[in-house]
Symmetry: C2
Subunit: 493 residues, 2 copies
């Protein structure tokens, strides 16, 4: 049944925009670049948060909260950092409005000008490291393993729901360590947490890698990333973890005394994922009928729809009783279940609605099922329908949900593998990029010039140097110089 | 053992400030009026959030997220609202910084001035009702029962950690209804949710009541509140729930078609509690030794401290093994437990530390306990210590935690009752206010003039018209006119 969605093959970008709106995930607000995350979208984000937060705590992290505002001068303390963020900041300059003299509304009160302007945090390294200075004196105060769930603002010019918005929600981990090695291990550990989350919870395969210096976080010595492939073959950076060295400790004068009383600057990592993951989730799995949600992130994992008859109140009551009993059984196994007993809507309309919303399964029960002790179960990923025994239905659905999660992961992994190609020459690279897209493995000489030339000429960027890539041999596909790395190129979101 | 805390009777306010800092709950940031919520404080707030969020969902609400920024003109659309909030807003006027021409840091780029300034949300009625306009066409779209967890900013001049900060964390419910009655019922229901949460989770008794028109939320027709009494007898408004009538629907033109196709403005409620509850929690229960946390909000409900011996590694190992076994048993009952095996700190030092942090119980095990099958259990609320059987320790602690919660509630309730006094005359009122403080029940003629005169003359405000107050008889204690309400006066935070 058509939902009036543009088809992916006709216009992938349009399909995405329509799907986010029609499935009720989010919408644009009147405030430029800021989105409203609607209840259905927020419920998915809450499930992501919960799964991530559990993983952060299991790896020894605690949550805290730091100010929304950052004094303008803090940004300047780390040279690369200010370069990276100053150009897209929301700046608070005043702290009061007053009635307009013409009686029309309110104006900014010129008397209420701040001595120093405040920037709405685009990321919190500066305010946090300014705070850590007072928390850290000795090696006994280390490590500090703190995470923050927060909103941040980066004044993007071109915005898209979830993928790029002026305000977005995220978590940012900020850790402090006594040694370089420990900080590097932390960055790598959190990259692993992100990858495991992406694969086990989002059913989204990712490539773990290292960013090139050009693509590093502003202020980092090394940026690790997970890159996912969307259905259109483009790459999406799904999470980053940074080894910050001593850059912020030096900028904010954060030292510790080691066991011998020697003072040294503290070592740092930071890492984050954001509501951008919602975009990644949608573009990895969904289809022309609507969302396809992995069971672990579906606000409702199944919906029971009684097929009511006209003028048969007794049968309809039996159907409702059965629906309630089954819902209790399903909840008993921890399955998130809804019942749709709306008599004003036709079943066909409902089916289309739940397909649009991406419910992983739906259960339909009609009068014949009452007699036969059966139910009809449809799964969203393959759109298969089966008549199954009502007996043991909770366990059946539980198993099916696991199967759906695995199937979605396998399908996405196959798509990624099928669309990852190795090339030898730059000509081959351009042909593959134009005709096939996807991830392209190629030799690179390690120079920024080469990287930038390729980007200018083709629009593809180096997504990462994969962590598991074997030693490189042969020349750079572009310059012919000896290659330093075998890297993944792609067009990207 | 002294923690160097000022005693409550010497300076209650100083005691509070020191306690928040020393117990590691929060601290001031370099950004005026903004606090850093430290991990221990945030862990308590997370437990509060979890308990509240569960209650919101059980009453049919869903979470969503709306923009941080509000166009300046939106504030002006509701007359009382702008009056209430415009004077304490953080205003974003620019969206970019640039390098300073003198090479020193960054300056606001004058070219990047916003056409319309944005206010950092002090509360979200305006941006949300502007959004609801597109969500609501018909009675079928109602009710909308949405909650948001968010940060908000009100530019307060005098700030205190948790109690009054420029930025704070809160939840704000914003609901839309087809009838006046339903919106009123929603406001009252959520007041009930807050009261139940305060009493069952925070062990903090509250008075449910209605605010006088003077003290109403800016834009509300009725403000319901819960008021708690702190240990110094002062009142603290712990939560509010507003019946907004059709004020915001009219300001933002939000109408719905009823079953007959008639258009009407939508009815609204909003309700919120904030990190201010952290201040209320501290000031309700804590003592001169430190925090006293109700078990349901304690990040750790117990800590096991093995009493290590010098040069007896075998015994120490047995103690550690016992500690781990007991911890597993405790966790099996869902008890949040820590083990303190730090050999560099004396037990006395540790005891003082856990008292400061407000752990509801602590369990000490020493060599003699190994022989006797016993443990020493200390409870934080009464500071009693008892030697108990190691057998069944998890259930023992579980029961003790319940007892502590009840005891804390009873103690706080007794304090509230003992310090609530009825007065007949204004002279009596002033005497009681000066000598005893606390809540004072008195007759009020219902006029703003009387309310303001009493406030000016004594510093006491009307905290609320209690919901369960019986009909009033007799004259107003101040004006001698016929009283309209019997109300609670108090000095307040």
């Amino acid at each position: 049944m058509s939902k009036g969605l543009t088809k992916r093959e006709d216009d992938y970008s349009q399909w995405y925009n329509e799907l986010v709106l029609k499935s009720g995930l989010a919408e644009h607000s009147d405030v430029r670049g800021c989105m409203v995350i609607k209840p259905y979208g927020f419920a998915i984000w809450e499930l992501m948060k919960e799964a991530l937060d559990k993983r952060f705590k299991e790896t020894g992290h605690v949550n805290a909260y730091f100010p929304l505002f950052i004094p303008k001068s803090y940004l300047s303390k780390e040279a690369a950092h200010v370069e990276g963020f100053a150009k897209e900041c929301a700046v608070v300059t005043h702290y009061r409005l007053k009635n307009s003299p013409d009686g029309q509304g309110v104006i900014v009160d010129p008397e209420a000008k701040l001595e120093e302007e405040l920037v709405v945090r685009p990321t919190s390294e500066t305010i946090i490291w300014n705070t850590y200075r007072n928390w850290i004196q000795s090696y006994r105060d280390l490590p500090i393993l703190v995470n923050q769930w927060a909103n941040v603002v980066r004044w993007e010019i071109r915005t898209r729901l979830f993928l790029r918005t002026a305000e977005f929600l995220w978590q940012e981990g900020h850790t402090a360590h006594a040694t370089r090695q420990e900080a590097i291990e932390e960055s790598e550990k959190m990259l692993g947490v992100y990858a495991e989350f992406a694969e086990n919870i989002m059913a989204m395969p990712v490539i773990k890698g290292i960013k090139t210096p050009n693509e590093r976080f502003a202020g980092a010595l090394e940026t690790y990333c997970i890159e996912a492939m969307m259905q259109d073959g483009k790459a999406l950076q799904a999470g980053t973890s940074h080894f910050l060295g001593q850059n912020f400790a030096k900028a904010f004068d954060v030292k510790f005394a080691d066991k011998d009383g020697q003072e040294e600057y503290v070592w740092a990592s930071s890492w984050g994922v954001s509501t951008r993951l919602m975009g990644a989730l949608i573009m990895t799995h969904s289809d022309d009928e609507g969302l396809v949600l992995p069971p672990k992130l579906a606000p409702y994992q199944t919906v029971i729809i009684p097929f009511f008859l006209k003028n048969k109140p007794e049968i309809n009551e039996q159907l409702m009783n059965l629906a309630k009993t089954m819902a209790d059984e399903l909840r008993g196994l921890g399955i998130r279940v809804a019942i749709d007993d709306d008599e004003t809507k036709r079943p066909g309309f409902k089916f289309a609605e739940y397909e649009l919303k991406g419910y992983p399964t739906r259960i339909v029960i009609g009068p014949r099922d009452l007699e036969n002790g059966t139910v009809e179960v449809a799964r969203r990923d393959t759109k298969e329908k089966k008549t199954l025994s009502r007996e043991g239905i909770a366990q059946t659905i539980q198993d099916l949900l696991n199967e759906i999660g695995e199937n979605m992961m396998n399908k996405a992994l196959k798509h990624q593998e099928d669309n990852t190609r190795s090339v030898g020459s730059y000509d081959e690279f351009k042909t593959v990029l134009e005709n096939e897209g996807g991830f392209i493995l190629a030799n690179w000489d390690g120079s920024s010039e080469t990287e930038e030339s390729i980007k200018e000429e083709t629009g593809a960027t180096i997504r990462c140097i994969p962590l598991d890539e074997k030693e490189v041999t042969g020349p750079c596909m572009y310059s012919g110089k000896e290659a330093k790395y075998r890297v993944i190129f792609a067009k990207a979101y």
